[in-house]
Amino acid sequence: MLKGHLDMIVLAALAAAGSAHGYAVIEEIKRRSGGAFDLPEGTIYPALHRLEQAGLLKSTWTTADSGRRRRVYSLTRTGTRALVERRAVWKQFSDAIGGLLGGNRPRETPA
């Protein structure tokens, strides 16, 4: 379930953080989800590379205070648009499931 939404989670974390390296993205995901997602941290990196290849992210190499080389990612315009779309789809899905499980009618979408 979580793996299916990993891209959206990573995009959302990067949108919140502005630009960040892998470790900071993971920390942002943990912080914003209240530590709910227990995914091997290494899984984030192939996702970052894949999203960059798809043109949703861009990256630059910098040097950290520690002197180590650090790859910093940020959203591209396409990535920002993709996140907006995925958020809308997720909201629709979440409203529908909420309606089913909670017995509430999902909010009517404007015509």
Binding site: H21, Y23, Y45, H49, R70
Partner: protein, 230 residues
């Protein structure tokens, strides 16, 4: 402990040297930062926890292998079109050279020449159309998160398109070779001949590059499948 882990991860990613170097640096930064953030400081236990949280090196390498394979398939599609363009330039350059050098086209064997020209033209345009199809096909697909059966089917279709492109191009180059032989037969070794041979060599090299890309893609797909399976 961390250097050993990085070494094993880099080894697993050895199928793509540049990716291996880049991932190693990224993961090294991650692990040492995790250790620095650990309450116990830089202890073996902190390093062990950082590695355990990061995950199994082979499993992570398998995920990277899929990303790497996707990148290579897209490159192969672009390479196919560049190769076709290179082939066309060499072909046109040779014809232009014949005109510049005022090499007369002999009338004998005109029926054979006409047939070969027709085969050449059809094969070349077939390679262009199939190559464009392959590029459009692979670029219209999302980069997968894992080596799903659906992705394997995509790869098979794409590989088939690339092979069809290469086959059509081989036919075109063979036809060009025959036309060049017909044009140059009986001529003494001279500048005119060497220019024609050079353009033919460029055409053959172009096809070789495409075949190399297809072979690399096949090998990469097989190694990814093996990595995912274990």
């Amino acid at each position: 402990m961390i250097p050993d882990y990085l070494e094993s991860l880099a080894r697993e990613l050895d199928f793509d040297r540049s990716l291996s170097r880049c991932v190693r640096q990224e993961v090294e930064d991650h692990l040492w930062e995790a250790v620095a953030a650990d309450a116990t400081g830089n202890t073996p236990q902190a390093q062990q926890r950082a590695i355990a949280s990061f995950g199994d090196a082979r499993a992570i390498a398998a995920q990277f292998a899929v990303v790497s394979l996707a990148r290579h398939t897209r490159r192969a599609a672009v390479a196919a079109l560049l190769v076709i363009a290179g082939d066309l330039i060499a072909m046109k350059a040779r014809v232009a050279w014949y005109a510049t050098a005022q090499l007369a086209i002999t009338d004998d064997m005109s029926a054979l020449r006409g047939l070969v020209i027709s085969i050449d033209r059809h094969a070349f345009w077939m390679s262009v159309i199939i190559g464009l199809g392959a590029l459009a096909y692979i670029h219209s697909r999302e980069i997968p998160a894992a080596f799903y059966p659906a992705y394997r089917r995509q790869l098979r279709r794409f590989s088939l398109l690339c092979r069809a492109t290469a086959s059509a191009l081989v036919v075109s180059v063979l036809s060009d070779g025959l036309l060049t032989a017909l044009q140059l037969r009986g001529m003494e070794l001279s500048m005119e001949i060497w220019v024609a041979i050079l353009t033919m060599a460029i055409e053959i090299a172009c096809v070789g590059v495409l075949l190399l890309h297809i072979r690399r893609m096949t090998v990469r797909a097989a190694s990814t499948a093996a990595l995912v399976k274990t």
